[in-house]
């Protein structure tokens, strides 16, 4: 039995239905990244679990016990917010200690616990500072320390890295998994950044259209997305998508695109003559200066270096646009672009979707 179970939870605010029959099971000690566009109900879900908002329907169980009806203080749930929400008139120490107060804990124990968590988060030297004297990064660590100090069974983190600078975000992205493991908390981590979701989640829950569309390991979300919308949201540059209609042929079904014929897997035979989407990720398009087997001619119209990788903007003879990426060192071969080159698709990596439903046409399991 899973440790945290969200069982068919619904919630509406007036006319706005935010969650409908949302379901999620989280194992003990697991970190689930909840990813979705703004307004998808991510924060509302956390508030339901914390007990700040009540569900209209459905059950929430922690360690097998329903928490419906329990107040926030009775739930053993810690929460940190994207705007830090520190008490401005208290030094960092008191902010972190606040969840321990009023529980009859002796001062020496409080001191020791705060010191311990502050050291792990590398803010022990600023414990006597007021929030306004802390840098953004230190504020964020203080907020995180406050949510961790009691060692809650369930930790809810609401986009905690949103308001910190890039350097710190990377640092925290690297440190958080180790930190969370030390506290053995079960974590729900809300983010709008797909990279953060993949980096931090043992599994990623894609929340969209009022419920979870897919809950899976990062690699499965990326390589095996259930819908075209999920495929579009994971990956930067986004996956290339082309409307097409498979037609029968002597050597099996295929689609005419880019001035060549791309074979359609046998399992898609039922899709002949029906509108499909061919999806190919930029890193699965190989670009070469010379012709080779399986390669078709394209015009390289722009070279746009990204971080670490370089994006190549291609136009095929049938005026389709293709974005490809290559490593930074490969990218330097192409100059400023505006030259003929050759592209090849990694056929095994093509993702096919039903255009009408947006559902992925997956291989049979």
């Amino acid at each position: 039995m899973s440790f945290l179970v969200i069982d068919g939870v619904s919630r509406r605010f007036g006319k706005l239905e935010v969650l409908r029959d949302a379901a999620l099971s989280v194992e003990r000690g697991e970190t689930i990244a909840i990813f979705g566009p703004s307004g998808a109900g991510k924060t509302v879900l956390l508030r339901l679990i914390a007990g700040i908002v009540a569900a209209d329907a459905g059950d929430i169980r922690i360690a097998g016990e329903s928490v419906v009806g329990l107040g926030p203080e009775a739930r053993d749930v810690g929460m940190a917010f994207q705007n830090f929400a520190l008490y401005p008139h208290w030094p960092a120490f008191e902010n972190i200690a606040s969840p321990l107060r009023g529980r009859g804990m002796v001062e020496a124990d409080i001191k020791q616990k705060v010191q311990q968590v502050a050291e792990l988060l590398r803010i022990a030297h600023v414990l006597h500072h007021l929030p306004k004297q802390l840098s953004n990064g230190q504020k964020q660590r203080t907020a995180l320390a406050r949510s961790l100090v009691r060692g809650p069974q369930v930790l809810l983190l609401d986009d905690p890295l949103r308001n910190v600078d890039a350097k710190l975000r990377y640092e925290m992205r690297l440190e958080l998994p180790r930190l969370l493991r030390q506290f053995e908390s079960t974590v729900l981590y809300v983010t709008q950044d797909y990279k953060e979701a993949m980096a931090l989640g043992d599994r990623v829950g894609v929340l969209q259209g009022r419920c979870f569309q897919q809950v899976d390991r990062p690699a499965a979300i990326y390589n095996d997305p259930r819908t075209v919308e999920i495929a579009r949201q994971f990956g930067d540059p986004a996956i290339n998508l082309y409307p097409c209609r498979p037609v029968p042929g002597a050597s099996g079904a295929g689609v005419e695109i880019f001035g060549v014929r791309v074979a359609v897997p046998d399992r898609l035979a039922a899709m002949v003559d029906r509108p499909c989407l061919l999806g190919i990720r930029p890193e699965d398009v190989r670009v070469e200066l010379t012709a080779g087997p399986g390669a078709f001619p394209v015009e390289l119209d722009a070279v746009t270096p990204l971080n670490v990788r370089t994006a190549l903007f291609l136009r095929s003879p049938d005026r389709q646009e293709i974005l490809a990426t290559c490593s930074e060192s490969e990218g330097t071969r192409f100059g400023r672009g505006h030259r003929p080159v050759f592209a090849r698709l990694d056929a095994g990596k093509i993702l096919w979707f039903d255009q009408a439903t947006g559902e992925r046409l997956r291989p049979a399991a």
């Binding site: 590398r122 350097k167 990377y170 992205r173 690297l174 690699a219 990956g235 930029p282 990788r309």
Partner: protein, 382 residues
């Protein structure tokens, strides 16, 4: 089209009874005909003031700005033949998008049909062709921004100025629109200066990037050069995602040559790097300094293989087209990036190399670059 030159340009905002603010200090740059240059920096670095001086919306406090052979200083904005896309879009609410984009073409020479074709082309490029008959208040911020961009790009001008042109674009559209815009600018040989705080945008669009901080131009260079030869610690840690790893090191001189000992953030020694293989030029660049800052870009750290350093894996994060690895070398936390997936579970030990050719050394006090790889930073600087 024309070249744009800034000669020792400064912007000083003088306020009564308050200290003058030096927003732009002594900036010089020459932008070639048809070149795309990005002004990059965090808020308050002087990039927008620089752009507004070029456009004519701010007085030039000191220095000269030329466009071709014309001195712009005393010309009104309308006399400069410059097209600009504003950060706040500045669309006319009572006009349709079509008229917003097209009205500036009315005063240019050419037929009405030609103008309509141009509007349609640019609208298709920016994916607003299907909403051309709508009015600005009825469309999203991203669409308004694309309309404002279309209005600037459709004109024929000597110079194109774009202020944060893509900050509001929908994430899934960003990469493809950047590519199309770059293609369009190159195709039409448009001399372009754009302002951005987003380095990904700057790297993607620009031929050269002017990195600014505290009103001072830190470096004007190609994306490639900014990464391989950053002029100082600021540029080095600003460019790159994840940013360059920076570690404080102590220089030790032994009979076999130099050794750099990395210091842990909280004190104490971490790993050491032997510079025995370093040439005289590099030694000269280091001089008699006792302390340095050492930098290495995440994807140039070699993980696995038979590297000389032992590291423990703190995190292993596969992001689809790249992997970010957090590694702890004797108490120093570094980030390494690889193109594919890496089989290294958490807390496992991996061997790591920080190759000499990938190390950057900076002066510990001024932050100025001393060397890139085995070469002194000042090579060819004169």
């Amino acid at each position: 089209m024309a070249t744009l030159t800034l000669e020792r340009v400064s912007k000083i905002y003088r306020q009564r009874r308050r200290q003058a603010v030096h927003a732009v200090i002594d900036v010089s740059m020459a932008i070639q005909d048809g070149e795309i240059v990005g002004l990059l920096g965090s808020s308050g670095c002087g990039k927008t003031s620089t752009l507004r001086m070029i456009a004519g919306f701010e007085e030039i406090s000191q220095g000269v700005i030329r466009l071709g052979s014309r001195v712009l200083n005393q010309l009104r904005p309308a006399e400069r033949n410059v097209a600009m896309a504003f950060e706040g879009y500045a669309l006319y609410p009572p006009l349709t998008l079509r008229d917003n984009i097209g009205f500036s073409l009315l005063r240019d020479k050419g037929t009405k049909a030609k103008a309509e074709t141009k509007v349609r082309q640019i609208a298709e490029l920016l994916e607003i062709a299907d909403i051309l008959d709508r009015y600005p208040p009825t469309i999203s911020g991203g669409q308004q921004q694309r309309t404002s961009l279309a209005r600037a790009l459709v004109r024929s001008a000597d110079l194109f100025l774009l202020d944060e042109p893509m900050s509001q674009l929908e994430p899934q559209l960003r990469a493809i629109l950047r590519a199309r815009i770059k293609d369009y600018l190159i195709e039409h040989r448009m001399t372009t200066v754009f302002v951005t705080h987003d380095q990904t945008e700057a790297l993607a669009l620009a031929d050269r990037i002017a990195v600014m901080e505290a009103g001072v131009l830190q470096q004007l260079a190609t994306p490639h050069e900014l990464r391989d030869r950053p002029a100082n610690l600021f540029v080095a840690s600003f460019i790159g995602e994840p940013p360059m790893n920076i570690v404080a090191v102590r220089v030790e001189r032994g009979p076999d040559g130099l050794r750099l000992t990395a210091e842990k953030p909280g004190g104490g020694d971490a790993f050491a790097i032997d510079l025995a293989g370093a040439g005289l030029e590099l030694l000269a660049a280091i001089g008699d300094r006792q302390r340095l800052q050492l930098g290495i870009r995440p994807h140039l750290i070699e993980v696995g293989g038979a590297g000389p350093l032992k590291a423990s894996v703190v995190s292993n994060q596969w992001l689809g087209d790249q992997t970010h690895l957090g590694i702890d070398i004797d108490g120093c936390l570094l980030v390494a990036v690889a193109d594919g997936a890496i089989a290294a579970p958490l807390d496992s030990e991996v061997r790591v190399a920080l190759p000499l050719r990938s190390l950057h050394l900076f002066d510990a006090d001024s932050g100025a670059a001393l060397s890139h790889g085995l070469e002194p930073a000042l090579r060819g600087a004169a």
